[in-house]
């Protein structure tokens, strides 16, 4: 997969979230967006997910420029899967219905029911299909969210801090699922604070700080010898404890 950004700028009111972000990264399965909080990682991810419009600049994924009209972006969003930090499941629908809704209403798969069953089975959620999100643990909710995003056979997945709302045990449970996606050859772009996980699982890393991508490249190189002062300081602080 190839992700390219050229001079991407985004501001929210008077806050400049991204300043002329320019990078090109090629990876085979997992790109991790890492960096300090408030640095702009989530904004980069949300723009790649077609959920925010950049104020200026160009983005292309696998050589296809990202649309700027809402109707084209809507078509683009159908082809990808997004997982949010706070699960964002629909609380009035059961786990199975959360998964089935986009299959039936957006993608109109004739085998929506069977697909739902299969994906629940794959994520060991079969016994929980009838439960509402409030009846599930945080780890189970995030597994349902990942299942919902995957059920539509997306070209790639985007995850925004998928474990930061979870306790350590549930974090491990969800990270296992994400690591499993690598084996299933599911391309993935994720924002994460789990540096150990990024080092183990990601094959490419983009370091986002102060609204810019200061560094990007193979994960091994980044963790072994970060180039920018900010990345060195960041990793030094993270790995101190």
């Amino acid at each position: 997969m190839i992700v390219e950004c050229d001079g991407v700028t985004k501001s929210f009111g008077s806050h400049l979230a991204l300043r002329e972000v320019t990078f090109r990264v090629e990876f085979s399965h997992t790109l991790a967006l890492v960096g300090p909080s408030g640095g702009g990682k989530s904004t980069v991810l949300r723009i790649l997910a077609g959920l925010e419009y950049p104020d200026s600049g160009r983005i292309s994924i696998n050589g296809h420029p990202l649309a700027s009209a809402e109707s084209d972006l809507a078509a683009y969003r159908k082809k990808i899967g997004v997982v949010f930090q706070s699960y964002n499941l629909f609380p009035h629908l059961s786990a199975a219905d959360n998964i089935r809704l986009p299959l039936e209403k957006v993608h109109r798969f004739p085998d929506a029911e069977a697909r739902t069953e299969r994906i629940l089975e794959r994520f060991q959620l079969r016994d929980h299909g009838k439960k509402k999100p409030a009846e599930l643990s945080g780890g189970q909710r995030q597994r349902v969210a990942i299942a919902r995003a995957l059920a539509t056979d997306p070209e790639f997945l985007l995850m925004d801090e998928p474990t930061s709302a979870l306790d350590p045990e549930m974090t491990a449970e969800v990270l296992d699922v994400i690591a499993g996606l690598r084996e299933a050859r599911q391309p993935l772009i994720l924002v994460t604070h789990e540096m150990g996980f990024a080092r183990e699982t990601a094959d490419a890393v983009a370091f986002v700080s102060e609204g810019q991508v200061l560094e990007c490249g193979p994960a091994k190189e980044f963790f072994a010898s970060p180039q920018s002062v900010e990345a060195k300081r960041f990793l030094g602080r993270i790995l101190k404890y």
Partner: protein, 243 residues
């Protein structure tokens, strides 16, 4: 704690006994209720029917106004705001007098029952609009975003995600508003519509037995409003424990 409950219970029994003694001594012509039972029944049925129609109509008006108030098209949004704020700022009695005798008469629309139901629906619709709007706004931003992310269209988002959740949040308040509508329908008596209150007033004029007319009148409204109120309380509790 027990002592407080005991005292409250004792006071309640004392008050009930007091009321009973006063009422029993005041009701001298209890046969009036029996004699005019058909009139009371017919009046009560008119109240039930007109309330049911007004309830439906006000829900449609309320939903339209709530959506209009969220419209991005400014003329539509401001029309909704003017409607809601004007209606909520005028007492129903004044609205009935103004619209029926002032506006409807002027344009030659003088079907009392239809006019009454329409004015009641317009009045209640403004309150329902605000209840529904609050319900829609109680659905968090993350739900809209999630719906967008999975590819739902705007209409689908309202149909499958926002409305079911908004309705659930709004139901207790809606039940309260429906009870208000039933009570407010008594004001239609001033237009001479033969509903429950008007009937009781007529019987009162004919028999000069005040309490015998107005006691069944009150009970007739309670039969409609108490179940609604209990249902609303039940829903509120169910919502409280759900999340």
């Amino acid at each position: 704690m027990m002592a407080k409950v005991g005292t409250a219970g004792f006071l309640f029994i004392l008050l009930s006994l007091g009321c009973w003694v006063v009422l029993a001594s005041s009701i001298q012509n209890s046969e009036v209720i029996w004699k005019y039972r058909q009139a009371f029944w017919t009046g009560w049925l008119v109240t039930v029917k007109l309330s049911a129609v007004a309830l439906l109509l006000s829900t449609v008006i309320g939903l339209a106004a709530a959506m209009a108030k969220r419209s991005k098209f400014l003329p539509v949004r401001y029309t909704a705001i003017v409607y809601i704020e004007t209606i909520r700022g005028i007492p129903l009695l004044v609205l009935l007098l103004f619209l029926y005798y002032g506006v409807f008469n002027a344009v030659g629309f003088d079907h009392r029952l239809s006019a009454g139901v329409l004015i009641l629906s317009l009045f209640s619709g403004a309150y329902i609009a605000e209840i529904l709007r609050a319900g829609i706004e109680s659905v968090g931003h993350s739900q809209w975003e999630s719906a967008r992310a999975i590819g739902l269209t705007n209409t689908q988002t309202y149909t499958y995600i926002v409305c079911p959740q908004a309705l659930k949040h709004s139901t207790p308040a809606l039940a309260g508003q429906f009870a208000s509508l039933i009570k407010d329908s008594s004001l239609l008596s001033i237009l001479g519509i033969a509903e429950f209150t008007f009937t009781a007033q007529q019987v009162n004029s004919a028999t000069l037995s005040t309490l015998e007319c107005y006691l069944p009148l009150s009970i007739g409204y309670l039969i409609l409003t108490v179940p609604l109120s209990l249902w609303s309380k039940k829903l509120e509790n169910a919502l409280r424990y759900e999340t």
